[in-house]
Symmetry: C2
């Protein structure tokens, strides 16, 4: 017998093994599919690639929902082949981004906790197929996910039919780290009984209806490694500012020495901040996050962190090799949950999270843009930053003060797109310092942000704008005709630096 069949412990399903091409042939023009995958982890790989190959020969268009970003170049191949009409809720691929910005792909940039509600509530419309990567299927009919849970549970439960990709490249030691829980339907929903990042409230796999499994496909491709850059001088300085802020909160009695559970977004800055905690005085850290990056494993190795909960594990190539080789030593300190639970407002508010996410730009009143370059061009999407920022105890946003070698100021008079409003943002951090803007009126916030966060090359011109705005009055003073002029200037002249004030 094919050894791989041992991964399918439900005998009736062993007969459903098909080729990726055959499974892909079931997906036809106008359909909507739900794919496993969250921040390049645990994504279905074989069938999406076979779909693209078919689409390159005979065009068709489908709607593609996922957990979050897909790896293995799949979103790029989707974009190049032109087979995707609608894409939600998140992506991070340069080719897909180009298709979104040209208007070819209709991208729905959606809070990662909410797609599950839309699927259950029929807002997305029916999903024809869920395509879910799995370690295997147990004899009780549980699908065991791999390196992410994402939206796999809601897709598996609500899609008409199911295609399972069993990934034989993933270590069986992953079994047992998942906690699969789906809230009751609206109208009969109970409290989600999770009061600590360590709590297990569901099952070790996703219960599936065997009758809905139309096919099972083998796949032996590892996840794409994460391209996260190591900390540099600036990110280390920013991590230092953030630690200073936290120390101040402890000293003022607003935080205990044991910090609240931490959520940290995707990216180099967030990674650097977590690295900064390794050498800090803080102990017994817990993470309640959406993705576990390299630094989380360093925190676990150092003994600084005692537990980590998320929806996915996304590692760089070196870490991936090392961590999965020694995975048994991490198993008891990790849990992966559906993104609906990792990012749920009920839990985020209850746990009082300390939430750290990356901004693309923010304005002098504290409005944050996480998604759009110059207000129009999509980067990746809001991801979980809105889920966490809106409901966390502390919503902290970090960015370098400038981009493009200083030609863009990341602190502007008026954010060119707003993903997190002034009402939701607590603390802003750049390499120049932090601005704690809680319980401040807009004018007070502007003074603090200009003093603490803006690059010196832009400070005089932002101060000048603010002074002239205040002269015009208003709770949130602006010179409307100039509010977006920095972005216009950059678009026209390649820099936001004004020649004269």
């Amino acid at each position: 017998m094919d050894q791989r069949l041992e991964r399918i412990q439900l005998p009736a399903l062993r007969e459903r093994v098909v080729s990726a091409q055959q499974a892909a042939s079931w997906i036809t023009d106008g359909m909507a599919i739900g794919l496993s995958g969250f921040t390049r982890a645990g994504d279905a790989k074989a069938v999406p690639n076979a779909l693209v190959e078919r689409g390159e020969k005979a065009p068709f268009r489908i709607d593609v929902y996922s957990g979050a970003s897909l790896g293995c170049g799949i979103d790029g191949r989707f974009a190049q082949s032109g087979i995707v009409r609608k894409r939600a809720p998140y992506q991070s691929d340069s080719l897909m981004r180009a298709s979104i910005n040209s208007g070819e792909v209709q991208f729905v940039d959606h809070h990662l906790s909410q797609t599950a509600e839309w699927v259950r509530g029929g807002v997305t419309g029916p999903l024809d197929f869920a395509i879910i990567e799995a370690l295997g299927i147990t004899e009780e009919g549980l699908l065991i996910p791999t390196t992410s849970v994402g939206n796999s549970m809601v897709f598996a439960h609500h899609a008409d039919q199911l295609i399972i990709e069993i990934n034989t490249a993933q270590p069986m030691e992953l079994e047992g780290i998942h906690d699969c829980y789906e809230p009751e339907a609206l109208g009969m929903r109970q409290p989600i009984p999770l009061v600590s990042p360590r709590d297990r409230i569901g099952r070790k796999g996703i219960p599936i209806d065997p009758a809905k499994v139309k096919g099972i496909v083998w796949n032996d491709q590892p996840d794409s490694p994460s391209p996260i850059e190591p900390p540099d001088a600036d990110t280390n300085i920013m991590a230092g500012h953030l630690l200073d802020f936290l120390r101040g909160e402890v000293k003022a009695g607003r935080l205990r020495e044991q910090l609240p559970p931490i959520q940290s977004g995707v990216g180099s800055v967030a990674n650097a901040v977590l690295h900064g905690l390794i050498d800090s005085e803080f102990e017994e850290l817990e993470l309640y996050s959406e993705v576990l990056q390299d630094a989380v494993f360093d925190l676990l190795d150092s003994g600084k962190a005692s537990f980590a909960s998320a929806s996915a594990i996304t590692l760089s190539a070196d870490y991936m090799e090392r961590i999965y080789r020694n995975f048994s030593q991490y198993r008891d300190r990790l849990v992966l949950r559906p993104q609906e639970i990792s990012n749920h407002p009920e839990i985020i508010r209850r746990l009082g999270l300390l939430s750290i996410n990356t901004a693309l730009e923010f304005d002098m009143y504290g409005n944050v843009n996480s998604t759009h370059v110059a207000g129009t061009k999509m980067m990746n999407g809001i991801g979980g930053s809105g889920d966490f920022g809106r409901n966390a105890q502390l919503a902290i946003f970090v960015t370098k003060s400038t981009a493009k070698n200083g030609r863009i100021s990341c602190v502007v008079p008026f954010a060119s797109h707003i993903d997190h409003t002034e009402h939701d943002v607590d603390v802003l951090v750049t390499e120049y310092g932090f601005a704690d803007i809680r319980n401040l009126a807009p004018r007070e916030r502007a003074e603090r942000i200009i003093a603490n966060c803006v690059h010196p090359d832009y400070r005089p011109q932002l101060q000048d704008y603010f002074t002239r705005a205040v002269a015009q009055g208003g709770h949130t003073p602006h010179v409307l005709g100039e509010a977006l002029s920095w972005h216009e200037l950059y678009t026209g002249e390649g820099t936001m630096i004004k020649k004269t004030l």
Copy 2:
């Protein structure tokens, strides 16, 4: 014995009765106070007025926190006397608004559910006094609120000292309609055990520490009546569109015939929408809202609504007279909660609310401005609209398509201030129709909003802007140099109508 003393059933406290002037004398320069009061209901009246009188003679400045808006002209008197340095989290007074917009008062415009977290967490700094209107004090030491609960519980528990205003003008039948519950401190917080608008999870009054009660003051002034205007032709048409949307959702199977609990914001349009439900086919309605206005009592009278939960009761003069005269017939169908609970994201998401709030303007991509005229001048504040919009099953925003006799379009290219982002807004309604923008990409949303919501006088110029923006490309196309030009035009020429396209 003074009959009024029967309202104080804790004998030790009877000796603490003082004049409003004496109580006000304890509040001195630099202090912070927390006042009862939510949408003009249940506000402390005597001591704030005495404070103003003192301030008019001898200047001092204090920070004033409340539940939401205060009635009885108190915010206006605060503003005129100049005694307020900081004001949070909401107000709706024209004089206070002027002081906020001139920069004299530092206004912190804050989600109504979150002020309690800030008070508990020390973010507001210590509160020197809580001044709470009450029906009376029971022998178990429970302070029974009057027509609102607001932030009274967290103020009473966390302020250093307490001044209680016993309002003898309020009917004792109000006792028993309050459900006072405060979540545990962060780090030990449990699920809030509320799964239906009808659930009672707390106590009938606010437990107080008698040692903290510095004084008790008599007050016999009724609440300010609400100035809500009756439905007019436009608001009735908007209510009709909203009902059409709901019928479509039921037909599509996305809502059951028994609608989810309804939240409806303050104001004439929201009131008209609730009135529209009286003659509709929907039955057994439940409200889980922040304030109960006139229309809710009409819904209860008509038998259409069976239960209503909120944080305050705010009525027009006629209704106030009638409802409080016959209050016993409503008592079993009402509950008033702390605003932290009426507006809590955990509960709003769990109950799957249908949330209806008023917008000041929205843009063609679905970003909503609830607070700032022309991006700079504060109206009232975000109130609970962010609490509800962000976490509701359906976040619906309503506004007439124009204001100022057609000189302002309430649908613009780029919202001049953003309180609710494109990620949070589900349905937009004007008298021209509704736009359901769920699961749509920005360009798809713009097409629907232009077709369904914009006033015909502005449709060609918004379509023209959109067409030229799309020609420039991007996920969310804009012509940055023109994005705020409608607001500039209005500021300069008194109309948003362009002479030539």
